[in-house]
Symmetry: D2
Subunit: 448 residues, 4 copies
């Protein structure tokens, strides 16, 4: 059976991930992501109203023209988890394919949100829910399986396409976490089996984000311990404390909520995306929040909530808000500019349970946000966080476990691939033979 891989997006950048695998006549597309930084370069761009071609020209969504060269039918569109660089282009591209969108429950919920927001295209692909550990047939000879992985969002999977020629493991976005805060540990056992089963692993597509960092990505439980230490030290503070984190990072939000309680404060989630992600997780039973946990997204209800906090005393609350990157329109930035009823005073604490994404625009905005907060007397606690991506040791482990016949580095540009390539070479792979460094819009023929 012919096996071919089309590297559509995410091979020259971090963002707009998209990869198609053709096995015989059947095609599966993994991820359709957005490169948000390309959008933010421009002022006042509203992607909801834009046409795909313009977004492709901007480098914001995957350029899927290479799909026309692939002879076969798309059987499934498979987003691996709910981050925008994996699902953010579905609303713009999925309607071009007559295929269902197959995802884990939480991911699917977020995809629905994307589709509802879309104003340009009518997307009516079927939405199919599949849990980690489950499989479905693709065409007559292939099977799509979801393996549970741990990442900085819940319900992430690594999809595996089992073909007669061996398994194709689409390995983006994970860390090996043996003690995550929500969910089960990383399913290493299943990867071990996949490495040994049948024809073994024909190809492994890997996320190189942290490949140049030494050692092991710490467990979410390490960030949780760090956060606990910081928050407990604030126990006797009677003024305002505010926290921000990735709104999609429900495990972290859960820790913030718990520690707020422990130090005698009522947590409140504020900001549209805080409400969206945590609300979705709660509805699906993925997280168990206190019954009275407030979540407010609309401007009016947020303001009402802030007024209540000011009236009842800042010392009784922990607002958990958006704005960890200093995004100009996010809640924390607005708080810094004094645009909300919440008043920051000398000595108030602001916890950034996140890391600045190392790009000058973010760094500038975050700096500006911190400056505004500090001018009002706020004290910043930053970097209480761990990454969601494998470092060096995780990559060694995955290669040892899967023993793939071919490796395709992804989720980076060539500079980002570079440390991963060195690592793979040290394990016996060879550029151009079984180690495929490529760019967007290419095809790799694995079995002819």
């Amino acid at each position: 059976m012919e096996i071919e891989i089309a590297t559509i997006g995410g091979y020259e950048e971090v963002g707009r991930n998209c990869t198609a695998v053709r096995a015989g006549d059947d095609i599966v597309i993994f991820d359709m992501g957005l490169n948000l930084s390309k959008v933010l370069l421009h002022d006042n761009v509203e992607t909801e109203q834009m046409h795909s071609l313009d977004l492709i020209d901007m480098g914001a969504i995957p350029d899927d023209r290479v799909m026309s060269e692939l002879e076969g039918d798309v059987q499934a569109i498979v987003p691996t988890h709910g981050h925008l660089d994996h699902i953010g282009a579905i609303a713009k591209l999925a309607h071009r394919y007559d295929a269902p969108i197959v995802a884990s429950p939480f991911t699917l919920e977020l995809v629905k949100g994307q589709l509802e927001g879309e104003q340009k295209f009518g997307v009516d692909n079927e939405l199919v829910e599949m849990e980690a550990g489950e499989s479905m047939l693709i065409g007559e000879e292939c099977e799509l399986e979801f393996v549970h992985v741990t990442h900085s969002i819940i319900d992430a999977v690594n999809p595996v396409l089992h073909t007669p020629e061996g398994a194709i493991v689409y390995g983006l976005d994970k860390r090996i976490d043996h003690s995550p805060v929500l969910e089960e540990p990383f399913d290493m056992e299943r990867f071990r089996e996949i490495g040994r089963e049948g024809e073994g692993v024909l190809a492994y597509i890997e996320d190189c984000t942290n490949a140049g960092r030494k050692g092991r990505t710490p467990s979410e439980s390490v960030a949780r311990r760090h956060l606990k230490d910081a928050m407990q030290s604030m126990e006797d503070y009677s003024g305002g404390i505010v926290a921000t984190t990735f709104s999609s990072h429900v495990s972290r939000v859960k820790s913030l909520v718990e520690f707020a309680r422990e130090i005698g404060r009522q947590p409140v989630l504020l900001g549209r995306s805080m409400e969206r992600y945590s609300g979705a997780a709660e509805r699906l039973g993925k997280v168990d929040f206190p019954g009275d946990l407030g979540m407010f997204g609309h401007r009016k209800s947020v303001d009402r909530s802030f007024k209540r906090i000011m009236n009842e005393g800042k010392g009784n609350f922990l607002p958990i808000v958006t704005g960890h990157q200093g995004e100009p329109r996010a809640m924390l930035t607005r708080m810094g500019r004094g645009e909300t009823p919440y008043e920051i005073e000398e000595g108030d604490k602001v916890i950034f349970s996140a890391r600045v994404i190392p790009e000058p625009t973010n760094e500038g905005q975050r700096y500006q946000s911190e400056q505004l907060l500090r001018m009002q007397g706020a004290r910043i606690y930053d970097d209480i966080h761990v990454s969601g991506h494998l470092r060096e040791e995780g990559h060694y482990k995955m290669i040892e476990t899967l023993q793939p016949q071919n490796i395709i580095p992804a989720h980076q540009n060539m500079k980002g691939f570079s440390p991963y390539v060195d690592l793979a070479k040290s394990q016996g792979y060879k550029l151009g033979r079984d180690l495929h460094v490529t760019s967007n819009g290419n095809r790799i023929q694995l079995v002819e």
Copy 2:
């Protein structure tokens, strides 16, 4: 009563700390430290055989000539903890003063080691042990108290000189740790009392090392959790694992020893200073190591130990060694160069439970050490560590707690003082009035 402070060393550098406080006719000297980096600039310098004046000229030990301007008698020399930048010059300077050396048990044990190694001077000052929480009279009107603090070495104290004019708190080298691994938590309660008692705090001498870092220094228990995560992930590795950390950091050594056991390995401490510090802590009952924990310092016994490890299988052991900064003569560096019987193989793990001290010489040596280890196939886990010094928030907390009438930044040069000065100014202190930025060899008259 006249109160005067002489800023002898550590006011233009990190290293060679030394401060004298005169209360009437009685003087106490806090710390007599070494600036190791000034020694290491030169090849083949053996400080044990050098004269004080040459070491002063090199900038290696405090220039105590300002002491001749102080009218009074030295009643005690008080090292606060056992790091070299606090005790490393005692063997060179203490004999000039007719005064006992007063220190906590572990610190005193390490001072003894210093004195025994000294070859140039005969130092026969009385050695007096005093525990945190205890006090002694200084002259007729003053009292010296030791307050228990948490740092990256056990048995650290902040000495407080109680005078009729108020307390002088010598606050160097601590973090506020509510859950340290060994010892009791930081004694904030006692500092609170000192802030409120009698005349309050006349002067606070503070360590500015991390004053420019946002937030709170994490607890040792956070580093421990991080270390546990890393070591547990190696549980199924059957080859060599080696760890290095500050040999004086007995709490960390203790964690390494425990986690070694947990993953089925026998820990062994190797290297002269590993043996010295951990041996001392064990003799004094400060730490409880397994009865069969090997500690070897002499070249021959180290080599014998390595041979045994190679014979019985690297997979059964965890050597805990010196060399975290890539020091050319340390154990790990020698292992990297293949100068020991221990053979590093592809896939072996090396844990740096330490941070590179950010200075180009260290960075170069550490890089070289890592390169040599990697060339043999080792995989590096680095930065599994937390600092022992207060960050921004700790400084705010101490000022709020002590409400000192005067603040004297120390343990840095002026660049290092700068963020602390900003912080103190935000709390109402004013340069030249009650906030004293100074340099080595000066006197500050607090009460005339």
Copy 3:
């Protein structure tokens, strides 16, 4: 005669410089500057319409309340050169003092521009022109002299107040340039005389901006040589070339204009501040531009000029525009966003004859501007520039030349003072004795 110095602004930041010197009953105020970065933190602030007190609260202009403690009459307000951090607060503060504004011709011209733009206060202080090399009486016993210095703007001076107790040299903002492009070389000869005359130099107030940089600030002629090399290499390019630099840096603009001619292009200055500074310099005969050099500031005339360039062929022109820091509303940024008629095409060159001011907000904006330009195919030439501030060697030279009895570091915060303090200490000065590290709002009594 009592001599006292009030350090009003610029002693905790780069920006809002302001220092008053009182000699007996007579006071001279040197500089009244703006801290632009504090303004830019806020969106949509228009300083022209703001009240002084609000600007003081923002940290944007000097807090001159300490002036009320100075017993004497302000005899002159003396801006040293035309940069905003030296003249930008005159329109907000000068009217409080019944004293003329004394400045060199080009500086005075720019001060006029400031006063004309002011909408909140009526400022009618007398404007007095004084050339470098000239002097005027201050009160009955003092004399104010202007010494010619070289900086990144023309007509900069170091004012010297000659008092019976010695000279006070206000030494901000200069480099020692023996071969500047416009103007005479740095007047070292006069400084030598001042160092030897009468009572010598009582106090030297120094700009510490580059004190931590090794060696010597290169001459403007070095930047000119670098620029020439870059521009000559473009000689055979037939598409668009655009240059940007500090609009106040007329010497650099002059070089750009000349080299444009040399490679067969017609230079055009575009942008409001380009027109303002270069226009002023030309009117005053400080620079000799080609008769047909276009300068356009108003939106309409800029657009007309761009249309003409597009019609006649980009290859025939060199637009010299604002926007070197990526300022969102500057010309080059607008060109990057495609908001002007000038179309950037693949291969077009953009010369940044400037350095990014190292602050995260600038770095973010400049990055964004470059990204937008690059997305259209532009190729960036950056860092063709030299600093206008003395480095280490210049500071040694000035101290050796003036032999001041007192030194007061300025134009930085304490972190920035730090390397200068080390340098001064190496020359025998001592903190708290004759080396005065201070902050905003303090007074230093030199002669009582």
Copy 4:
């Protein structure tokens, strides 16, 4: 005719460059370089006495085993210029091939030095001198031409192998300099012709060192102008001035010699490699030094020279010495440690007309060297230098000029290739089609 390229060394590092081109049965090997940093990782390694295989294992010299797969005869070994990363392995590898070593006169002279130092192998390949602009036959159908390029060493060439299938341009190590200090300008005219002649350029092998740096590498004349500015500013200094630069950089040495004269000092070249390179250049008539210019390499004559300088007055001399990277055994480092008769005093100047090679080992050593010099009072002038490698714009220019059918990035690892690959892609090249990213030990078949 079959055309094949073997990428032997320098495709995974900076250093040990080596590439073979096979045209039919004839093979030319370009460069045989050393990776010095791999040697320096080890203490006390003397490469002169080491066997090739050990050096290959260390990663120090090219692993030429891939040559056995190439069917044909080596007709020439062609080092492009005299830097060690291009000629440093000739003594270890050339004897394996029955072929002459063909090089420009200065390069050949340096190759001879290498061969004379060799103690392990007898190398008796014929040495053939060929000037830039000349050609020689390779086999029956090919021609080898030397094109004159400008680099940080004189007499550098880009060799071009003209085959019936088109030209192979081996483009390593150059900048486009239109006004070098010695020699003719870069021969762009000849490259233009090569781009248009016959079959055009079949393949271009390019040095990616600075491909990620914006703009244009400045001309040597820009560094010369900078150096002149610095040295003229020292004209009235009567104490010691010392300069260091790359000893192979004869143009820079020439400028130092000239400016020494201009400020009334007698230049003296000190250090073994200073003597070797400058001596060779002078013997070959490549540079015109003053008749009485002293050059001393042997320890004894260096010491004698230093003594004479100390006797006659440091103010009359400019020692130009080795040690710009802080190499532990170089002259300047020894001067810093006080191991030579030259005494450095407060105020003496040390000019580093070089840039630190950005690698932690160098940075540590250079830092240490500067510290030792500064402790004696020396003042450091650093970074008076320009790179010898093309930046972004030079790469665009070369691609536009040559219009190569294939591009092979070299002289870097994959991370270093990355910006060049982006650049080439923007010019229409495509990875895996005509843009060949590869690693050491591979073969690229261009014509089958």
